[in-house]
């Protein structure tokens, strides 16, 4: 019961993510989603494995404390609050997100999965979160929102990994967290450099760099 509730909340936060225009709101939703997913293994009743408890603690710490901290700092540096005129508008984004969620339900229904999986919603939710992350990456102009998209993408991958969490060695899981952290870190630096070079964090300026 508990895992299904968390998954439902995750999918709902997907919709909020694509519909919001405030950057700080988007960050809050992404962090909320991250914490939800960090609690997910415990809710799935995997608390008996020590390394999975460790993983959950690490995930909650990184996603609930470290990443928001880094985001707040970046936000302070670049002085933006709103994502103005994204490539794809909020209504259309919402519709695309719904479409993606529907598509992932269909796909997950047809995917050849390990028999005996308890949580049937896990795979569609993971795919839907992946699509949402991609949608954010593709449709937003500000580098900061793109980082949020990247974060959501990673959440989707993490969710998929939960399916195999009992078989996966802790190393791989730690790898996901590290990858995420490094991703945020690098993007933070990149954002700062874009700002310094172009005096704005609009990624449109990057097109000037093409061959």
């Amino acid at each position: 019961m508990m895992p299904d509730l968390l998954i439902a909340l995750t999918m709902l936060s997907n919709f909020s993510l694509v519909a919001t225009s405030r950057v700080s709101k988007a960050i809050q939703f992404a962090v909320f989603q991250g914490v939800l997913l960090g609690l997910m293994p415990l809710a799935m009743g995997l608390g008996r494995h020590f390394h999975i408890v460790l993983l959950a603690i690490a995930a909650v710490t990184v996603k609930g404390w470290l990443i928001p901290f880094l985001f707040r700092r970046a936000l302070k540096q670049v002085h933006i609050q709103r994502e103005v005129d994204p490539y794809i508008g909020y209504t259309v984004s919402l519709m695309l997100c719904a479409l993606g969620t529907g598509l992932s339900l269909v796909l997950a229904h047809n995917l050849p999965l390990k028999p005996g999986t308890e949580y049937t919603l896990l795979v569609p939710a993971s795919l839907a979160t992946l699509f949402t992350g991609f949608l954010l990456l593709v449709s937003r102009r500000k580098a900061l929102t793109q980082v949020v998209g990247y974060l959501v993408l990673e959440n989707g991958i993490y969710l998929f990994g939960l399916l195999l969490v009992e078989d996966m060695p802790a190393l791989v899981e730690a790898g996901i967290l590290l990858d995420l952290f490094v991703g945020i870190f690098v993007m933070g630096i990149v954002i700062n450099h874009i700002r310094v070079a172009f005096d704005s964090t609009d990624t449109r300026h990057l097109a000037e760099l093409k061959d």
Binding site: Y87, L107, N110, L111, L127, L130, F131, F134, L137, V138, S139, R140, Q146, T203, R204, L206, A207, E208, L209, K210, D211
Partner: protein, 649 residues
């Protein structure tokens, strides 16, 4: 085998110490390559003397083939020129290249890597290792061609080479994919009987012929070769022309060794291409003014001779004529080694000339024989060998091919097939005569007569580190030419790899003991004559081309162009020389200039336009490169979606 792998490692690492050493990096590299040559030659000679060579095997189910690297007689045979020329080139570069430019350490490193790629390539017995080494060779060679990348001409040559070699590789990928479909794995193995006559067999042959033809420089796929050889540093040209081109031949030989029953037209196609490359290659060489370009065209000519031999062998295999088969393949294989020896020697001597005078233009040289006696001797030895004159090695391999073609003329050939041996004989004779004319022109213009410019007059002899490798190569040419019988067992063992074993009969077939005997007798006679004729008439120093004229001038001598003019005009239909004739008018005409050059028609009229067309077409792909990160991410998303849908459906 382990010795050979050690040699490979030593070659690959030869340039590494030089990256950290402040001085003596070149000496260390040459030493390591020398070590590689000793180890590798020892391993190769053991295999060629009949000891099984061993193999590197990696039993991975996913790659599904028994061996990856095998040191069989064919590999050992092709490894010999690689080892010899790479160490000769490294030694030569000490005097030739060291300290000339800032990129010397990088050049040494890449040179070692090219040698290692070549060594891996000869041993490759799996499509994976073969293509890996093939690409390694192509890219390292590209970097070496670009050594003097400040010259626009060099950059152009490098890019043309890169495009040509990758086009060839693309064809090879297709060929190996087809081969893997037939075998069920990507290892090298004999093809089933009867396959060669099917459409699949034809496609394989065509793809391999084109793919390897690009590398070997078979006309009309040769267009990258003259500019690249002219632009590269001379010791690199020696390695490229002497060894790298031969890797195309190695590929063809390997392919032919898999086919138990080649159709007759395969041999015919090889002979036709060989005749075309041979005759036109030497014809184009006649029209060149650039010494290294001239030598490059001669590489095309010699690849033609090798193809004639291969074609003869393949014809013999199809017709079940073991004499033709053995002599053809043995001649072709021996010519591979021979050409690498004398062409290496020629490129190194040309490098000495370039080093001493700073120009490759024949019309600005002359009279170097007095100033650079050792270099001119080396060049003469190389020219002598390349023209196929006894007692040097070029004679022996051409002799084998001639003999095979004559033996093929008998009535057992059947009606309608007499033509091929006749084509081989005629084109070989034509090539030999034209090559002699061409080297008379080159040697005469560079080393005889009077210096045409001040730089030629101030030329100096090359340092000893440059002369030593030239001397070694010249000695190797002489050894094979005088005592071919010593090398016959090894050659027979390699020729056996090409089909039913008949190689043991090679010495008797070709009368090889006779060659040594005649050489010995003639040598003694010459020695005696020299002793008798010692009291020569008194030496009288006169300027060359005096002709009784009171005020002789260096400009009065034959130029390289005027020497070759008659032949170039005779071959006008093929060469299409561009002549800029001056207009002479009035009673007292002003001084004027006459210019003629022979551009490469394939490069200028076919390859370059095709390249421009492709580049224009490729520009359309730029639309996909919008520069916007979201668009690139969209591509990823769409691919992901497509893959998911494809997997589910």
């Amino acid at each position: 085998m382990s010795l050979f792998l050690l040699a490979l490692l030593a070659a690959a690492a030869s340039g590494v110490p030089g990256l950290f050493l402040r001085r003596k990096g070149g000496e260390v590299a040459a030493g390591l390559l020398g070590l590689a040559a000793v180890l590798g030659l020892w391993a190769s000679l053991r295999v060629l003397s009949g000891v099984p060579g061993g193999a590197v095997t990696l039993r991975t189910a996913s790659l599904g083939a028994p061996g990856f690297l095998v040191l069989d007689p064919l590999a050992a045979f092709f490894a010999i020129p690689v080892l010899l020329l790479s160490v000769a080139g490294a030694l030569y570069s000490l005097g030739y290249w060291e300290g000339r430019r800032g990129n010397t350490p990088a050049l040494r490193l890449v040179y070692g890597l090219l040698t290692a790629s070549l060594l891996m390539l000869v041993m490759a017995s799996h499509a994976l290792t073969f293509l890996l080494a093939w690409e390694g060779m192509a890219i390292t060679a590209f970097l070496l061609v670009m050594a003097e990348d400040r010259e626009p001409e060099t950059r152009r040559a490098g890019w043309i080479y890169l495009v040509a070699t990758h086009t060839g590789t693309l064809l090879l990928f297709a060929a190996f994919a087809l081969l893997a479909k037939i075998h069920g794995h990507s290892g090298f193995a004999a093809l089933p009987t009867g396959l060669a006559a099917t459409r699949g067999g034809t496609a394989l042959f065509a793809l391999f012929l084109l793919g390897f033809g690009f590398k070997a420089g078979v006309l009309p796929l040769h267009f990258w070769l003259p500019p690249a050889h002219a632009a590269a540093p001379s010791h690199v040209s020696a390695l490229m022309s002497g060894v790298m081109l031969k890797m195309g031949i190695l590929g063809l030989v390997r392919f032919l060794s898999w086919v138990p029953d080649p159709p007759i037209w395969w041999g015919g196609a090889l002979v036709a291409l060989g005749a075309l490359s041979g005759v036109l290659g030497v014809a184009f060489a006649l029209g060149q003014h650039d010494l290294k370009r001239l030598l490059a065209y001669h590489s095309i000519e010699n690849i033609g001779i090798i193809l004639l031999g291969l074609g003869l062998g393949a014809l013999g295999k199809s017709l079940g004529n073991p004499v033709m088969q053995t002599l053809g393949f043995a001649g072709a294989l021996l010519h591979v080694v021979n050409h690498s020896l004398f062409k290496g020697l020629l490129f190194l001597s040309a490098g000495s000339v370039l080093h001493a005078t700073g120009t490759r233009n024949l019309e600005q040289l002359g009279g170097l024989g007095q100033r650079m006696p050792w270099t001119s001797g080396a060049f003469l030895a190389g020219s002598w060998a390349i023209c196929g004159l006894p007692p040097l090695n070029g004679f022996v391999s051409e002799w084998l091919i001639y003999l095979g073609a004559f033996r093929g003329l008998g009535p057992n050939l059947g009606p309608g097939r007499q033509g091929w041996p006749v084509v081989i004989l005629l084109s070989l004779a034509l090539i030999g005569a034209l090559a002699l004319a061409c080297f008379a022109k080159a040697f005469g213009a560079v080393f005889l007569g009077l210096p045409r410019t001040g730089t030629a007059a101030r030329a100096h002899e090359a340092p000893r580190t440059m002369l030593l490798p030239m001397g070694l190569l010249a000695l190797a040419c002489l050894a094979i030419g005088v005592a071919p019988i010593l090398f016959a067992p090894a050659l027979g063992r390699v020729a056996d790899a090409m089909g039913p074993a008949t190689g043991a009969a090679l010495p008797a077939l070709a009368g090889l003991p006779m060659i040594s005997l005649v050489a010995l007798v003639l040598g003694l006679l010459a020695l005696l004559l020299w002793r008798w004729l010692r009291p020569m008439p008194r030496r009288d120093d006169r300027p060359t081309w005096d002709c009784g004229y009171a005020a002789p001038d260096a400009r009065m001598q034959y130029t390289a162009s005027s020497f070759a003019d008659g032949l170039v005009r005779g071959l006008r239909w093929a060469l299409r020389p561009a002549v800029h004739l001056p207009k002479v008018s009035g009673w007292f005409p002003r001084p004027t200039r006459y210019e003629s050059h022979v551009p490469d028609p394939i490069l200028d009229r076919a390859a370059a336009p095709a390249l421009r067309f492709t580049v224009r077409g490729a520009a359309l792909l730029r639309i996909a490169q919008g520069g916007a990160l979201p668009v690139y991410l969209l591509y990823v998303l769409l691919t992901l979606l497509a893959l998911l849908v494809w997997m589910v459906a």
